[in-house]
Symmetry: C2
Subunit: 344 residues, 2 copies
């Protein structure tokens, strides 16, 4: 019993690997007979049972009841993805196809289609955290709708457009609006709103009083527009999860899961976690600390703009998922999204 000291000998690893693979493939608890057939090792079921008992003791597998086969525990999956899994990267042709799907000309749509891409390819739920904004702007424009309603159009540093209606006390003439916009555009483009606020205060005492009021409103609106849409989670293909019998057996669990999807902030927290590390990360079962995700895994990867991580893409599916397929898909999607966003 020397090898029970944490480490798994080669045979145990191989058996664990094929067990997980079998289970992922057909969702049934795997018995000793099946393992003896598929492991490639020329061992009788009886011998295999011994190893399985060890694996169970160590918490890698468990049996739903006495006379069923074994299924992987979270720990089993964890070991599997960490050291047993062999991922086959996608080939060039597939990548090119994917690249074609991401040719879209504005950030929101790009993010949305990345999310769709993930859900379509994996048949699970795709998630994308929208890119963090730097908080500056590239261009500002005021447009008069009615006397006291002014449309603020704001092009962010990232090149997408925010808009917002400002209610004013005073009436501004079109030329005043143009002038205000010019001042902001010429002097402060690229700065953060905080910075602008300070500098406007300091430098522009001479500007007419009511003009600077307009600017204050603009800054507040800009601030809000930026912070409001700061980081959001775009989910698609939740419906796919309805088809997964692992999840849709427990109606209550399923509802909890979908409730989680509506709670963007919780999800955001989880996903943001991933944007601190490089490369693909995997949360298995309850590892994330969220009960509704008990029987789910989350596969994530950060994406970047100009070499800086700005968001996360990911897939949420059942713990019993084909990791060797999902992982490269998430990986590639993150990379494609990075390059699609960078080249603008």
């Amino acid at each position: 019993m020397a090898q029970e000291f944490h480490a798994l000998n080669e045979r145990a690893q191989l058996l664990l690997k094929t067990l997980v693979e079998r289970y992922i493939a057909d969702g049934q608890p795997v018995g000793s007979r099946a393992l003896s057939k598929y492991s490639g090792l020329d061992l009788s079921p009886a011998s295999i049972r011994n190893v399985m008992a060890d694996l169970e003791d160590m918490g890698f597998i468990a049996s739903p009841h006495t006379s069923a086969g074994r299924i992987p525990t979270s720990r089993g999956y964890r070991f599997f993805v960490d050291t047993l899994l062999t991922v086959k990267p996608l080939d060039r042709i597939e990548i090119n196809q994917l690249e074609g799907q991401l040719q879209v000309n504005n950030t929101q749509k790009l993010v949305a289609s990345a999310s769709h891409l993930l859900s379509d390819l994996t048949r699970f739920a795709g998630v994308v955290v929208t890119p963090r904004r730097s908080g500056g702007f590239r261009h500002i424009e005021f447009l008069r709708l009615t006397e006291k309603r002014i449309l603020l159009i704001l092009v962010t540093a990232e090149g997408d457009v925010q808009n917002r209606i400002i209610q004013t006390d005073k009436i501004y003439s079109p030329s005043e609006l143009v002038e205000a916009a010019n001042i902001l555009n010429q002097n402060y483009a690229g700065c953060s709103f905080d910075e602008i606020r300070r500098r406007v205060h300091a430098e522009l005492k001479q500007v007419q009083e009511h003009m600077s009021q307009l600017m204050a409103a603009a800054l507040a609106a800009g601030d809000q527009a930026v912070s409001e849409s700061a980081e959001d989670v775009v989910i698609s293909g939740e419906i796919n999860l309805l088809g997964i019998d692992d999840l849709s057996s427990n109606m209550t669990k399923l509802r909890d899961l979908f409730n989680l999807f509506e709670h963007r902030s919780t999800l955001l927290q989880l996903l943001d976690h991933s944007s601190r590390a490089q490369g693909v990360q995997i949360f298995i079962g309850g590892e994330a600390g969220l009960t509704p995700l008990d029987e789910c895994s989350v596969v994530t990867a950060p994406y970047e703009v100009d070499g800086k991580i700005v968001g996360t893409v990911g897939v949420i599916g059942p713990t019993r998922m084909a990791y060797e397929r999902v992982i490269p898909i998430v990986d590639i999607t993150a990379k494609l999204l990075s390059s699609a966003l960078t080249q603008r």
Copy 2:
């Protein structure tokens, strides 16, 4: 048997009414004993059974199996909502509360919150068809991102903002961009893109060749932006339907239903139907011709801007819903949305 001639005598109507109400209230097939208790008529179960048999012959009710009570058929519901139902309008206080929820400052968000409102209040799925755009624009702006990438910002006649990146062959200077925008804004604001296209072609032969190319691109993009986001369906609270046991018993049906939700165009067609009539409309069960909606009802009402119908709000829920509550909610939401959109 004279009254079997289509018409329902008063007693039959009253019994049908209480039967439907009972069934809506607790979801169990209603038997003759229950009806005799709750109808208010002083009749024995046996007499009531006779009437029920008539109602069944006429197709208003049916029994799931021999020894269960009766449940309303689609036809029964139809008769119920058409002539038996007594809706109680919401009181002022509630309306004011709702009005508070719809104070948002841009069309997309307004539509989204209307949809949320519907789903929150009814605990079913809320749908809103986004307002039809007239196809003109109020203001156009070109903004240079890189040499050959130009950001087109388009304020529609309705006052919301579209944006889109144009890839150009040639390089335009900032002043050229300003000039092009000016031409469009000064001469063509308010016209449809089709009209502009014709007039630009006719009137602007003298404009430099490469300038008019830019405009063509702008028009094409504008056209596309308008037509693309022309009409869309915003759905919220689909998750609520997971909790409805009428629907979530059949996993397959449920999946079909959610698939329908992803098929915006089909849904759009159904909802657009409603925007041809005034006031609240109801589709019960398969009446809409869509199989996934077999056990659903759709309650819709058109909303307007400046007196013209531009879209539809609605609720999708199980056939067995509290119509007397849902109908006024949909009605009011349509009216609130109308006024919120008109006052801008």
